[in-house]
């Protein structure tokens, strides 16, 4: 047993042994505690009086098997709408945030517009925006295919969500210290160049977790497009619920959403961690 640290050749140090023991003990306690809690739920919940009915209504295997393929098909529509809305929202939100931050007096109306826009569209519930835009605008007399609910429903989602995303970007931009701007300007970069090369890269990296939040929220709000007609996964689950008088289809839909969200957030976490490691931010524990 060597007391000299760093001499790997003579085996682990006392401190390392101690830490190893502590780690093992924590793992054992964690596993035991998890087993107890899960075991309690699995053993005791079925003993409740209403369990049979709840299981038949919410966890019905037969209904699940019968409805899941159709739900997966309908989910593809959700994915498509999300895929074309998300980039538009990010771009439009960023433009709004930049508009809100302009400092030249001549462009004040732009700043006013951006402020009013975020206030209005954050205040109005997304359902109202979708109904007004999805039914109202086509109702003015547009012909097909320009009155499509897919188009106007997506427009409504973009209008609504950009307001939230714009605020997130604005928070990111304002969190970049003023000294960065000062340094950039003193190097001779113009205002626009400062924003593009110095401020935005830092700002956007900072707000990736809250943006992720908004994107995940968007995935679920895509379901609101069912109000104006298209049959997406939650509407299909509702139709199946009425047909089979059973809530299990909603469980299937929830599973699909989770299957999408979990890998997404883990990938983003991984990218963030890689970024932090590169800049040495994880050196201190």
């Amino acid at each position: 047993m060597s007391d000299l640290p760093g001499t790997g050749a003579s085996g682990p140090t006392r401190r390392q042994l101690y830490e190893r023991r502590q780690r093992r003990r924590s793992i054992v306690v964690a596993v035991a505690s998890t087993l107890i809690v899960v075991g309690a739920i699995v053993v005791l919940v079925p003993k409740t009086p209403g369990w049979y009915r709840v299981r038949r209504s919410f966890f019905n295997g037969e209904t699940f098997a019968e409805t899941f393929p159709r739900l997966a098909e309908a989910f593809v529509l959700d994915l498509k709408i999300f895929a074309w809305c998300a980039p538009c929202i990010l771009v439009w939100g960023l433009l709004l945030a930049l508009a809100r931050g302009v400092r030249t007096p001549a462009l004040f109306p732009l700043r006013l517009f951006a402020a009013a826009y975020t206030d209005v569209f954050r205040g109005v519930p997304v359902i109202l925006t979708i109904l007004l835009v999805g039914f109202g605008i086509p109702g003015l007399g547009l012909d097909r295919p320009w009155n499509s609910p897919y188009l106007w429903g997506s427009v409504a989602l973009v209008l609504a969500y950009s307001a939230y995303v714009a605020e997130v970007f604005r928070a990111g931009i304002e969190s970049v210290h003023e000294s960065q701007r000062a340094a950039a300007r003193s190097l001779g970069l113009s205002s626009g160049q400062t924003m593009r090369h110095v401020v935005l890269p830092q700002a956007v990296r900072r707000v990736v977790p809250p943006l992720m939040n908004d994107m995940v929220s968007l995935q679920k709000d895509v379901a609101l497009i069912s109000l104006i007609g298209p049959i997406e996964v939650l509407r299909q689950a509702g139709i199946d619920k009425s047909k089979f008088a059973n809530f299990t289809p909603y469980l299937g839909a929830a599973l699909l959403f989770i299957l999408l969200t979990i890998p997404e957030t883990r990938i983003v976490d991984h990218l963030q961690n890689r970024q932090r490691r590169r800049t040495g931010a994880t050196a201190i524990r």
Binding site: V37, A40, P49, L142, P149, L227, G229, P230, I239, S242
Partner: protein, 293 residues
């Protein structure tokens, strides 16, 4: 500090376990027995209602014409309002003793205890629904019908083959939507809406070519609600379509069903159901029939 937190977590887990321990009643899969309160009716005791001395009837929110006029079922105006009040009178409930409540269409066809004695919102009697709730005998038979604006792709259709390229809309969770997907089978998937108001808005906005609703609703829409719309046709059982029997909806195995069936039989034999249909529902005779298959 970490040790204290984990102690709190362990206590919480323990509390969860103890809470789940409580309630050791037998988990027998018996269906809900309705609360058999003493009924204050002339039938005396074997026609129980959820509230003593009162009959609680539920309908939609809002309730549409021609089933309920002006969203005021208490007035008895409208086909369903009239039928419900007539049944209530047969059971011995009149005036103040008839209480109206509102539920959504879906709410009532879910398993579990109900907040009403019976519900009527053009519920079609289907085998799937009958496993979860109980229905009375039918009080009306209705065909599915197609409503479209003048000049739409559905105009002049005489058979289902003419409707295959039409974009349809219907209320979600109804037999109308099932009818579109199972009988008409159009190439484009139909749009589904929370209620008929959404379907009508889509029709007016040109997002759908035609909507499918039951025939009386179709006649009302084309005559009163949407200008320039018409009933393209109906699908009766004789032409291979389906006829929807509307029944009053009860909690599963409610003993009140037998009493209500007796009341309905009296009304039917006395010709009152037909009289109500004559009074409140438009004449169905002139609507062309669309052949199926």
């Amino acid at each position: 500090m970490n040790r204290r937190l984990s102690l709190v977590a362990a206590l919480a887990a323990g509390a969860l376990v103890l809470a789940a321990c409580g309630g050791d009643d037998d988990a027998a899969p018996a269906t809900d027995a309705p609360s058999s309160t003493e009924a204050g009716t002339s039938d005396g005791g074997d026609c129980p209602t959820i509230t003593d001395g009162k009959l609680t009837i539920a309908t939609g929110n809002p309730a549409y014409s021609p089933w309920v006029e002006n969203d005021a079922p208490e007035s008895g105006e409208g086909f369903e309002a009239a039928v419900a009040l007539a049944v209530a009178e047969e059971l011995g409930y009149t005036g103040e003793n008839v209480v109206w409540v509102r539920t959504s269409f879906d709410e009532a066809i879910q398993p579990g205890a109900k907040s009403f004695d019976f519900n009527l919102q053009q519920y079609s009697i289907t085998t799937e629904r009958a496993e979860i709730v109980s229905f009375s005998d039918p009080y009306y038979s209705s065909n599915q019908a197609v409503v479209a604006l003048a000049g739409s792709a559905a105009e002049g259709a005489t058979s289902v083959a003419d409707l295959v390229d039409v974009k349809f809309g219907a209320q979600a969770g109804t037999t109308s939507l099932d009818f579109i997907s199972e009988v008409i089978q159009p190439t484009a998937e139909a749009f589904a809406y929370d209620d008929n108001a959404g379907a009508k808005a889509a029709l007016e906005a040109g997002q759908v070519d035609a909507i499918v609703v039951d025939l009386p609703t179709a006649l009302y829409i084309s005559a009163v609600e949407i200008e320039g719309s018409a009933v393209i046709g109906q699908f009766p059982a004789t032409a291979g379509g389906t006829t929807d029997d509307f029944g009053l909806l009860f909690e599963k195995d409610n003993p009140l069903v037998a009493c209500v069936n007796a009341a309905l039989a009296t009304l039917r034999d006395g010709g009152q159901l037909d009289a109500f249909a004559q009074q409140w529902l438009s004449d169905n005779a002139g609507v062309p029939v669309i052949a199926v298959g």
